[in-house]
Symmetry: C2
């Protein structure tokens, strides 16, 4: 029984960030509005969590226009997917016992 929580990634501890990454693991280019609605958070709160994940280079941003409306969408980077998968593995190892 050693180093049990070492693999847990601080960046993914928060449930909103956990939610964002989960969504982006299986969906490409999900936009701000959809994330916001899916997670049920305020836009300011979502924006700050997104910024945090961006800083770690776990997600990347694309700004575009859909029709005439501005649209910001997000994708997990391969680094992000890798790190998140590692986090999930650590979680699983933790749960399944030592």
């Amino acid at each position: 029984m050693k180093n049990l929580i070492a693999g847990i990634n601080k960046s993914f501890e928060n449930r909103i960030r956990l939610g964002i990454m989960s969504i982006l693991m299986v969906n490409d280019w999900v936009d701000f509005g959809e994330l916001k609605e899916t997670l049920g958070v305020t836009d300011g709160n979502l924006a700050s969590h997104i910024t945090a994940l961006e800083k770690e280079k776990y997600i990347q941003v694309r700004k575009a226009f859909i029709g005439k409306k501005p649209n910001t969408s997000f994708q997990a980077t391969s680094e992000g997917k890798q790190a998140f998968q590692a986090h999930l593995n650590a979680l699983e190892a933790l749960i399944k016992g030592m």
Copy 2:
């Protein structure tokens, strides 16, 4: 894709609390020292997380003497096990996608 993170239990978001509960899911009456060593945390920090879980009635405490040394050990309550299992289920649902 709805209510994705609703089942995530705030009490288990923190990795130390996650670690404590994981250990107590499969081990009965684990003592302070072992938790501390296994998780690699300071005693003050561990104590505070334990207090938090205790307040939620997710774990219970037993104070005893082993030989002549005082010994405090912990067990997950059935409420705690249930709540933690629900948390894990929520995590799994989240990860496996909607």
